[in-house]
Symmetry: C2
Subunit: 149 residues, 2 copies
Amino acid sequence: MTVAHTGLALSTPTVDDALATLRSKGLRASSARRLLLETLFAADEPVSAERIAAGLDGRLPRSDLASVYRNLETLERLGLVRHFHLVHGPGLYVLAGNERDYLACERCGALRPVMPGALDDVRDAVWKRFGLRPRFNHYPLVGLCEDCT
Amino acid sequence: MTVAHTGLALSTPTVDDALATLRSKGLRASSARRLLLETLFAADEPVSAERIAAGLDGRLPRSDLASVYRNLETLERLGLVRHFHLVHGPGLYVLAGNERDYLACERCGALRPVMPGALDDVRDAVWKRFGLRPRFNHYPLVGLCEDCT
DNA sequence: GTGCTTGCAAACGTTTTGCAGACTC
DNA sequence: GAGTCTGCAAAACGTTTGCAAGCAC
Protein backbone atom coordinates (compact mmCIF):
# COMPACT_ATOMS: atom_id res chain seq x y z
CA MET A 1 0.00 0.00 0.00
CA THR A 2 1.57 3.24 -1.12
CA VAL A 3 1.72 6.50 0.77
CA ALA A 4 -0.56 8.12 -1.79
CA HIS A 5 -3.12 5.44 -1.27
CA THR A 6 -2.83 5.46 2.52
CA GLY A 7 -3.49 9.15 2.45
CA LEU A 8 -6.88 8.51 0.92
CA ALA A 9 -7.85 5.52 2.99
CA LEU A 10 -9.96 7.48 5.44
CA SER A 11 -12.56 8.44 2.89
CA THR A 12 -12.40 5.22 0.88
CA PRO A 13 -14.56 2.26 1.91
CA THR A 14 -12.87 -1.09 2.50
CA VAL A 15 -13.35 -4.04 0.18
CA ASP A 16 -15.68 -5.66 2.72
CA ASP A 17 -17.67 -2.44 3.09
CA ALA A 18 -18.13 -2.35 -0.65
CA LEU A 19 -19.17 -6.01 -0.81
CA ALA A 20 -21.65 -5.40 2.02
CA THR A 21 -23.12 -2.50 0.04
CA LEU A 22 -23.54 -4.81 -2.94
CA ARG A 23 -25.33 -7.42 -0.78
CA SER A 24 -27.59 -4.79 0.72
CA LYS A 25 -28.81 -3.96 -2.78
CA GLY A 26 -29.60 -7.59 -3.56
CA LEU A 27 -26.45 -7.95 -5.67
CA ARG A 28 -23.88 -10.72 -5.27
CA ALA A 29 -20.52 -10.45 -3.54
CA SER A 30 -18.80 -12.55 -6.18
CA SER A 31 -15.11 -13.35 -6.28
CA ALA A 32 -14.73 -11.39 -9.51
CA ARG A 33 -16.07 -8.32 -7.75
CA ARG A 34 -13.84 -8.89 -4.74
CA LEU A 35 -10.83 -9.13 -7.02
CA LEU A 36 -11.86 -5.99 -8.88
CA LEU A 37 -12.14 -4.06 -5.62
CA GLU A 38 -8.83 -5.41 -4.34
CA THR A 39 -7.19 -4.39 -7.59
CA LEU A 40 -8.55 -0.86 -7.29
CA PHE A 41 -7.23 -0.72 -3.71
CA ALA A 42 -3.83 -1.99 -4.81
CA ALA A 43 -3.55 0.58 -7.59
CA ASP A 44 -2.21 3.84 -6.28
CA GLU A 45 -3.35 5.77 -9.33
CA PRO A 46 -6.34 5.84 -11.69
CA VAL A 47 -6.32 2.68 -13.82
CA SER A 48 -7.92 1.56 -17.07
CA ALA A 49 -10.26 -1.42 -17.30
CA GLU A 50 -7.64 -3.12 -19.45
CA ARG A 51 -4.98 -2.80 -16.76
CA ILE A 52 -7.39 -4.02 -14.09
CA ALA A 53 -8.19 -7.08 -16.23
CA ALA A 54 -4.45 -7.68 -16.62
CA GLY A 55 -4.09 -7.71 -12.81
CA LEU A 56 -2.05 -4.50 -12.83
CA ASP A 57 0.41 -6.03 -15.28
CA GLY A 58 0.68 -9.35 -13.45
CA ARG A 59 0.93 -8.24 -9.82
CA LEU A 60 -2.56 -9.66 -9.20
CA PRO A 61 -4.71 -12.36 -10.83
CA ARG A 62 -6.11 -11.39 -14.19
CA SER A 63 -9.81 -11.24 -14.93
CA ASP A 64 -12.19 -11.01 -17.83
CA LEU A 65 -12.30 -7.59 -19.48
CA ALA A 66 -16.04 -7.62 -20.24
CA SER A 67 -16.81 -8.51 -16.63
CA VAL A 68 -14.50 -5.77 -15.42
CA TYR A 69 -16.43 -3.22 -17.48
CA ARG A 70 -19.77 -4.58 -16.27
CA ASN A 71 -18.68 -4.53 -12.65
CA LEU A 72 -17.11 -1.11 -12.84
CA GLU A 73 -20.43 0.16 -14.12
CA THR A 74 -22.31 -1.58 -11.31
CA LEU A 75 -19.93 -0.20 -8.67
CA GLU A 76 -20.12 3.25 -10.17
CA ARG A 77 -23.92 3.17 -10.05
CA LEU A 78 -23.63 2.39 -6.33
CA GLY A 79 -21.24 5.29 -5.85
CA LEU A 80 -18.31 3.06 -4.92
CA VAL A 81 -16.21 3.81 -8.00
CA ARG A 82 -15.74 6.80 -10.27
CA HIS A 83 -14.24 7.18 -13.71
CA PHE A 84 -12.99 10.03 -15.83
CA HIS A 85 -11.53 10.52 -19.29
CA LEU A 86 -8.16 11.72 -20.44
CA VAL A 87 -7.59 13.51 -23.70
CA HIS A 88 -6.79 10.25 -25.47
CA GLY A 89 -6.88 6.67 -24.32
CA PRO A 90 -9.28 4.61 -22.24
CA GLY A 91 -11.35 5.78 -19.28
CA LEU A 92 -9.62 5.68 -15.91
CA TYR A 93 -11.20 4.30 -12.75
CA VAL A 94 -10.64 5.12 -9.10
CA LEU A 95 -12.33 4.17 -5.85
CA ALA A 96 -14.86 6.71 -4.67
CA GLY A 97 -13.64 8.87 -1.83
CA ASN A 98 -10.73 9.94 -3.95
CA GLU A 99 -12.60 12.94 -5.36
CA ARG A 100 -10.39 15.28 -7.28
CA ASP A 101 -10.53 17.52 -10.26
CA TYR A 102 -8.01 17.14 -13.04
CA LEU A 103 -6.09 19.44 -15.32
CA ALA A 104 -4.65 17.82 -18.43
CA CYS A 105 -2.13 19.10 -20.96
CA GLU A 106 -3.27 18.23 -24.45
CA ARG A 107 0.25 18.28 -25.85
CA CYS A 108 2.41 16.34 -23.38
CA GLY A 109 -0.43 14.43 -21.72
CA ALA A 110 0.49 15.52 -18.19
CA LEU A 111 -2.38 14.91 -15.79
CA ARG A 112 -2.50 17.02 -12.69
CA PRO A 113 -4.97 16.36 -9.89
CA VAL A 114 -6.07 19.34 -7.83
CA MET A 115 -7.86 19.22 -4.51
CA PRO A 116 -11.62 19.48 -4.54
CA GLY A 117 -12.59 23.09 -4.03
CA ALA A 118 -9.56 24.50 -5.80
CA LEU A 119 -11.64 25.19 -8.89
CA ASP A 120 -14.77 26.33 -7.08
CA ASP A 121 -14.59 29.96 -8.10
CA VAL A 122 -13.96 28.98 -11.70
CA ARG A 123 -17.03 26.79 -11.48
CA ASP A 124 -19.04 29.60 -9.90
CA ALA A 125 -17.96 32.11 -12.53
CA VAL A 126 -19.06 29.79 -15.35
CA TRP A 127 -22.31 29.01 -13.59
CA LYS A 128 -23.18 32.70 -13.07
CA ARG A 129 -22.29 33.71 -16.58
CA PHE A 130 -23.47 30.75 -18.64
CA GLY A 131 -25.78 28.64 -16.50
CA LEU A 132 -23.54 25.59 -16.74
CA ARG A 133 -22.07 23.92 -13.69
CA PRO A 134 -18.73 22.43 -14.81
CA ARG A 135 -17.59 19.04 -13.54
CA PHE A 136 -13.85 18.82 -13.95
CA ASN A 137 -13.71 15.39 -12.38
CA HIS A 138 -15.21 13.57 -15.36
CA TYR A 139 -13.66 15.39 -18.26
CA PRO A 140 -10.55 17.23 -17.20
CA LEU A 141 -9.90 20.88 -17.82
CA VAL A 142 -7.83 20.54 -21.02
CA GLY A 143 -5.24 23.01 -22.21
CA LEU A 144 -1.53 23.65 -22.52
CA CYS A 145 0.70 23.34 -19.48
CA GLU A 146 3.50 25.76 -18.65
CA ASP A 147 6.15 23.65 -20.38
CA CYS A 148 4.11 23.29 -23.58
CA THR A 149 2.90 26.90 -23.92
CA MET B 1 -25.71 29.17 -47.95
CA THR B 2 -27.28 29.75 -44.56
CA VAL B 3 -27.25 32.89 -42.51
CA ALA B 4 -25.07 31.24 -39.92
CA HIS B 5 -22.54 30.31 -42.55
CA THR B 6 -22.64 33.70 -44.24
CA GLY B 7 -21.88 35.27 -40.91
CA LEU B 8 -18.61 33.41 -40.77
CA ALA B 9 -17.57 33.89 -44.39
CA LEU B 10 -15.33 36.86 -43.72
CA SER B 11 -12.83 34.93 -41.64
CA THR B 12 -13.08 31.65 -43.56
CA PRO B 13 -10.87 31.10 -46.62
CA THR B 14 -12.55 30.10 -49.87
CA VAL B 15 -12.23 26.62 -51.35
CA ASP B 16 -9.79 27.95 -53.93
CA ASP B 17 -7.75 29.70 -51.23
CA ALA B 18 -7.48 26.42 -49.38
CA LEU B 19 -6.49 24.49 -52.51
CA ALA B 20 -3.86 27.13 -53.26
CA THR B 21 -2.47 26.68 -49.76
CA LEU B 22 -2.24 22.94 -50.38
CA ARG B 23 -0.37 23.48 -53.66
CA SER B 24 1.99 25.95 -52.03
CA LYS B 25 3.04 23.18 -49.62
CA GLY B 26 3.74 20.74 -52.44
CA LEU B 27 0.47 18.90 -51.83
CA ARG B 28 -2.10 18.08 -54.49
CA ALA B 29 -5.37 19.91 -55.12
CA SER B 30 -7.27 16.70 -55.76
CA SER B 31 -10.95 16.43 -56.48
CA ALA B 32 -11.48 14.54 -53.23
CA ARG B 33 -10.01 17.46 -51.32
CA ARG B 34 -12.07 19.96 -53.29
CA LEU B 35 -15.22 18.00 -52.48
CA LEU B 36 -14.27 17.80 -48.81
CA LEU B 37 -13.78 21.56 -48.64
CA GLU B 38 -17.02 22.23 -50.49
CA THR B 39 -18.83 19.95 -48.08
CA LEU B 40 -17.42 21.80 -45.09
CA PHE B 41 -18.51 25.08 -46.67
CA ALA B 42 -21.99 23.73 -47.34
CA ALA B 43 -22.41 22.50 -43.77
CA ASP B 44 -23.60 25.27 -41.53
CA GLU B 45 -22.62 23.44 -38.37
CA PRO B 46 -19.79 21.21 -37.13
CA VAL B 47 -19.97 17.85 -38.92
CA SER B 48 -18.56 14.37 -38.35
CA ALA B 49 -16.29 12.62 -40.85
CA GLU B 50 -19.06 10.09 -41.38
CA ARG B 51 -21.55 12.77 -42.38
CA ILE B 52 -19.00 14.40 -44.68
CA ALA B 53 -18.36 11.04 -46.37
CA ALA B 54 -22.13 10.61 -46.77
CA GLY B 55 -22.28 13.97 -48.62
CA LEU B 56 -24.26 15.60 -45.80
CA ASP B 57 -26.90 12.87 -46.04
CA GLY B 58 -27.11 12.93 -49.82
CA ARG B 59 -27.12 16.65 -50.57
CA LEU B 60 -23.63 16.33 -52.05
CA PRO B 61 -21.59 13.50 -53.64
CA ARG B 62 -20.37 10.90 -51.16
CA SER B 63 -16.73 10.13 -50.62
CA ASP B 64 -14.49 7.54 -49.00
CA LEU B 65 -14.44 7.68 -45.22
CA ALA B 66 -10.75 6.80 -44.84
CA SER B 67 -9.80 9.51 -47.31
CA VAL B 68 -12.01 12.00 -45.50
CA TYR B 69 -10.15 11.29 -42.25
CA ARG B 70 -6.78 11.52 -43.98
CA ASN B 71 -7.67 14.80 -45.66
CA LEU B 72 -9.20 16.33 -42.57
CA GLU B 73 -5.93 15.62 -40.79
CA THR B 74 -3.93 17.18 -43.62
CA LEU B 75 -6.13 20.27 -43.69
CA GLU B 76 -5.99 20.58 -39.93
CA ARG B 77 -2.20 20.43 -40.01
CA LEU B 78 -2.28 23.36 -42.43
CA GLY B 79 -4.61 25.29 -40.13
CA LEU B 80 -7.52 25.22 -42.59
CA VAL B 81 -9.77 22.98 -40.51
CA ARG B 82 -10.32 22.42 -36.82
CA HIS B 83 -12.00 19.63 -34.90
CA PHE B 84 -13.33 19.20 -31.40
CA HIS B 85 -14.95 16.48 -29.35
CA LEU B 86 -18.33 16.18 -27.78
CA VAL B 87 -18.99 14.18 -24.67
CA HIS B 88 -19.98 11.15 -26.73
CA GLY B 89 -19.90 10.45 -30.43
CA PRO B 90 -17.45 11.19 -33.20
CA GLY B 91 -15.20 14.22 -33.54
CA LEU B 92 -16.75 17.24 -35.24
CA TYR B 93 -15.02 19.28 -37.92
CA VAL B 94 -15.37 22.92 -38.92
CA LEU B 95 -13.54 25.25 -41.26
CA ALA B 96 -10.93 27.36 -39.53
CA GLY B 97 -12.08 30.91 -38.97
CA ASN B 98 -15.12 29.66 -37.13
CA GLU B 99 -13.32 29.67 -33.79
CA ARG B 100 -15.60 29.25 -30.84
CA ASP B 101 -15.52 27.77 -27.42
CA TYR B 102 -18.12 25.23 -26.41
CA LEU B 103 -20.05 24.40 -23.28
CA ALA B 104 -21.58 20.91 -23.18
CA CYS B 105 -24.11 19.37 -20.83
CA GLU B 106 -23.02 15.87 -19.95
CA ARG B 107 -26.55 14.75 -19.16
CA CYS B 108 -28.74 16.05 -22.01
CA GLY B 109 -25.94 16.52 -24.54
CA ALA B 110 -26.76 20.16 -25.26
CA LEU B 111 -23.85 21.90 -26.96
CA ARG B 112 -23.63 25.63 -26.63
CA PRO B 113 -21.12 27.70 -28.58
CA VAL B 114 -19.91 30.90 -26.95
CA MET B 115 -18.12 33.74 -28.70
CA PRO B 116 -14.35 33.84 -28.57
CA GLY B 117 -13.28 35.91 -25.61
CA ALA B 118 -16.29 35.10 -23.48
CA LEU B 119 -14.24 32.66 -21.42
CA ASP B 120 -11.06 34.73 -21.33
CA ASP B 121 -11.16 35.59 -17.66
CA VAL B 122 -11.88 31.97 -16.74
CA ARG B 123 -8.85 31.04 -18.82
CA ASP B 124 -6.75 33.71 -17.15
CA ALA B 125 -7.80 32.65 -13.67
CA VAL B 126 -6.80 29.03 -14.35
CA TRP B 127 -3.55 30.11 -15.94
CA LYS B 128 -2.57 32.31 -12.98
CA ARG B 129 -3.48 29.74 -10.39
CA PHE B 130 -2.41 26.46 -12.01
CA GLY B 131 -0.15 27.28 -14.91
CA LEU B 132 -2.47 25.66 -17.44
CA ARG B 133 -3.94 27.59 -20.35
CA PRO B 134 -7.32 25.99 -21.04
CA ARG B 135 -8.53 25.49 -24.60
CA PHE B 136 -12.29 25.07 -24.55
CA ASN B 137 -12.44 24.77 -28.32
CA HIS B 138 -11.09 21.22 -28.48
CA TYR B 139 -12.73 19.59 -25.51
CA PRO B 140 -15.73 21.57 -24.39
CA LEU B 141 -16.26 22.79 -20.88
CA VAL B 142 -18.37 19.87 -19.62
CA GLY B 143 -20.90 20.06 -16.83
CA LEU B 144 -24.59 20.20 -16.07
CA CYS B 145 -26.78 22.78 -17.77
CA GLU B 146 -29.49 24.74 -15.99
CA ASP B 147 -32.23 22.28 -16.96
CA CYS B 148 -30.26 19.24 -15.78
CA THR B 149 -28.96 20.63 -12.48
C1' DG C 1 -33.59 -23.58 -6.70
C1' DT C 2 -33.76 -18.84 -8.30
C1' DG C 3 -31.68 -15.70 -10.73
C1' DC C 4 -27.61 -12.82 -10.64
C1' DT C 5 -23.01 -13.26 -12.53
C1' DT C 6 -19.32 -15.10 -15.13
C1' DG C 7 -16.24 -15.98 -19.18
C1' DC C 8 -16.04 -16.35 -23.91
C1' DA C 9 -16.99 -14.66 -28.34
C1' DA C 10 -18.69 -11.66 -31.31
C1' DA C 11 -20.26 -6.98 -32.49
C1' DC C 12 -20.03 -2.19 -31.91
C1' DG C 13 -18.69 2.84 -33.36
C1' DT C 14 -14.82 5.54 -34.46
C1' DT C 15 -10.48 5.95 -36.44
C1' DT C 16 -6.17 4.21 -38.59
C1' DT C 17 -3.36 1.54 -41.74
C1' DG C 18 -1.75 -1.25 -45.98
C1' DC C 19 -1.80 -1.45 -50.54
C1' DA C 20 -2.37 -1.38 -55.67
C1' DG C 21 -4.03 1.61 -58.96
C1' DA C 22 -5.10 6.54 -60.32
C1' DC C 23 -4.25 11.12 -60.52
C1' DT C 24 -1.73 15.87 -60.03
C1' DC C 25 1.92 18.45 -61.09
C1' DG D 1 7.46 10.44 -65.04
C1' DA D 2 7.79 11.08 -60.03
C1' DG D 3 5.52 11.12 -56.23
C1' DT D 4 1.17 12.14 -54.04
C1' DC D 5 -3.44 10.58 -53.35
C1' DT D 6 -7.46 7.58 -53.81
C1' DG D 7 -10.70 3.83 -52.74
C1' DC D 8 -11.22 -0.52 -50.83
C1' DA D 9 -10.43 -3.70 -47.33
C1' DA D 10 -8.87 -4.93 -43.08
C1' DA D 11 -7.30 -3.92 -38.59
C1' DA D 12 -7.03 -1.26 -34.40
C1' DC D 13 -9.00 0.63 -30.28
C1' DG D 14 -12.02 0.94 -26.37
C1' DT D 15 -16.32 -0.67 -25.09
C1' DT D 16 -20.79 -3.25 -25.18
C1' DT D 17 -23.81 -7.20 -25.85
C1' DG D 18 -25.58 -12.22 -26.26
C1' DC D 19 -25.45 -16.37 -24.36
C1' DA D 20 -24.88 -20.79 -21.91
C1' DA D 21 -22.72 -22.42 -17.85
C1' DG D 22 -21.63 -21.31 -12.92
C1' DC D 23 -22.11 -19.48 -8.52
C1' DA D 24 -24.19 -16.71 -4.41
C1' DC D 25 -27.85 -16.45 -1.75
